[in-house]
């Protein structure tokens, strides 16, 4: 919210067991346009901090009962008050108290006896710092949101590929998601479907996504077989990826003229195959990950398909749970009954329906998820 829209003053919570000190601070800061809350003891101070969320706290150290150190520790331990800057009031010669205050998370101190104009000056400085820090955080979050938007713009939508016969669910947990998919119009009747999961969720990952998209466009052509395309892409990635970065991927190549389908697997979870009207099954194949080994070998499976057959390619976020120690090697089997329930669900609604079935309406997945449904 923009403060200027509502003329909402900055607020300061002053905490001191000395009523005169509190009144002096209150008078000084109120006249300069600040909203002041006061407390003469620790528990009241914490209650006000929680309820009113002041922009800054002035905290006396020497108070009976819960002293200033106790209060700042409890404020910093509470997620709802931990970000509020605390300035403490302390005697001029109390070096140990100052050091302990800083250790506990205070941003500055004011020595007692204090001059009201010094209090005002320090309040202003620390509010400016706090505003600058918050602006920086907002700016960084804004840039990351731009990355998200750019990344999502790279993800093809079904309406833009009417002949590809696919639907998709895509969800990035963080601004720079690690999952990625692409649809490739290799020729009039040949379509490539690519799903990858890269190690990491950082900005570097989003650049990697752009690189892989360019490599797919260059190498998934009628000239190369699906395995050759993946090998070429792997060789470039081995050269350009920083240490520790790699991808698991599945590339599915569908020729609607010959009704031949080829799946190339690079360390990715198995594809789910649902024959038209039949029971779902897993298509397992071994293969090395992309971008790690120059002599990588990929699993390859070819099938003859029929109209109405469906294939689901997905990232490990669909089946893995760090919380429940489930990996896709074991988790994929448990998916099959859920896929069986999609027989009568339209292709366009299948991914969303499956996600709701697996995670419920409000549950939060533990990782990025991409789920691609391809219908022959």
């Amino acid at each position: 919210m923009n403060r200027m829209d509502n003329i909402q003053p900055y607020s300061v919570l002053a905490v001191d067991d000395n009523l005169l000190n509190l009144t002096l601070i209150e008078k000084t800061l109120t006249k300069e346009g600040y909203k002041i809350y006061t407390a003469d003891n620790g528990p009241d101070a914490r209650k006000i901090a929680l309820e009113k969320q002041p922009d800054l706290i002035l905290l006396d150290i020497e108070m009976p009962g819960e002293n200033g150190f106790d209060v700042i520790k409890l404020l910093k331990d509470n997620l709802e008050t931990t970000a509020i800057p605390v300035l403490f009031l302390t005697g001029v010669s109390e070096v140990d108290a100052k050091l302990r205050g800083f250790e506990l998370g205070a941003v500055d101190y004011i020595t007692k006896p204090f001059h009201p104009q010094e209090v005002l000056a320090r309040v202003r400085i620390h509010l400016k710092l706090s505003i600058a820090t918050n602006s920086l955080i907002q700016a960084q979050a804004g840039k990351l949101r731009q990355v998200t938007a750019a990344q999502e713009a790279m993800l093809p939508q079904p309406k833009d590929f009417p002949h590809a016969g696919f639907s998709v669910y895509y969800k990035a947990l963080q601004e720079a998601g690690g999952d990625f998919y692409d649809i490739l119009n290799i020729s009039q009747n040949i379509t490539g479907y690519f799903v990858a999961d890269s190690s990491g969720h950082d900005i570097e990952t989003s650049y990697m996504t752009a690189s892989v998209k360019a490599l797919l466009a260059q190498n998934c052509t009628p000239v190369y077989s699906p395995v050759e395309s993946m090998k070429l892409i792997n060789d470039v990635l081995v050269e350009i990826l920083p240490p520790g970065k790699y991808l698991t991927a599945c590339y599915m190549h569908l020729n609607r003229s010959t009704m031949k389908l080829t799946i190339v697997n690079a360390g990715h979870p198995p594809v789910v195959f649902m024959p038209g009207g039949g029971e779902p099954e897993l298509i397992r194949s071994q293969g090395d990950i992309l971008g790690m080994f120059s002599d990588a070998g990929f699993g390859r499976i070819s099938l003859t398909v029929s109209p109405g057959d469906r294939f689901f390619i997905y990232s490990d976020g669909l089946v893995e749970s760090a919380e429940n120690k489930i990996t896709w090697a074991t988790g994929a089997d448990s998916l099959l009954p859920v896929f069986a329930g999609l027989k009568d669900v339209d292709r366009d609604r299948a991914p969303e329906t499956l996600i709701k079935e697996l995670f419920g309406r409000n549950a939060q997945p533990e990782d990025d998820i991409v789920l691609l449904c391809v219908e022959v």
């Binding site: 009523l19 005169l20 000190n21 000084t28 006896p113 204090f114």
Partner: protein, 109 residues
């Protein structure tokens, strides 16, 4: 007493300073009484706590003499002693009375 000058030194107006002085007189009288009860009851830490409170408030208001007596009492209290405390408490009472007189003159003046 130069209330105008003391107020100016704190960067506040005289009216606010007089209001704060009223509050100071009330709280300090209460704290001096606590010091005396601390001495009578042989509770030096109580005397030190009350003196600490006077020291901070007097220092902030610019009442240096009062702050200095309070500092001495606080020191003695923290050391567990009462040497000189009665006499310094008397001095503080006297300073507080002079402050009351000045406030009264201000009201009638």
């Amino acid at each position: 007493m130069d209330f105008e000058g003391l107020a100016s030194r704190l960067g506040i107006d005289k009216e606010d300073f007089l209001e704060l002085t009223e509050l100071f007189i009330t709280t300090t009288q209460s704290d001096i009484d606590k010091i005396r009860r601390g001495v009578d009851g042989n509770r030096p830490s109580d005397a030190a706590a009350a003196a600490h409170s006077i020291k901070g408030a007097a220092g902030n208001m610019g009442f240096e003499d009062m702050a200095e007596f309070a500092r001495k009492i606080e020191f003695q209290g923290k050391e567990g002693r009462f040497d000189g405390v009665d006499a310094w408490a008397d001095e503080m009472d006297a300073l507080l009375n002079r402050l009351r007189e000045s406030m009264a003159n201000e009201s009638y003046g």
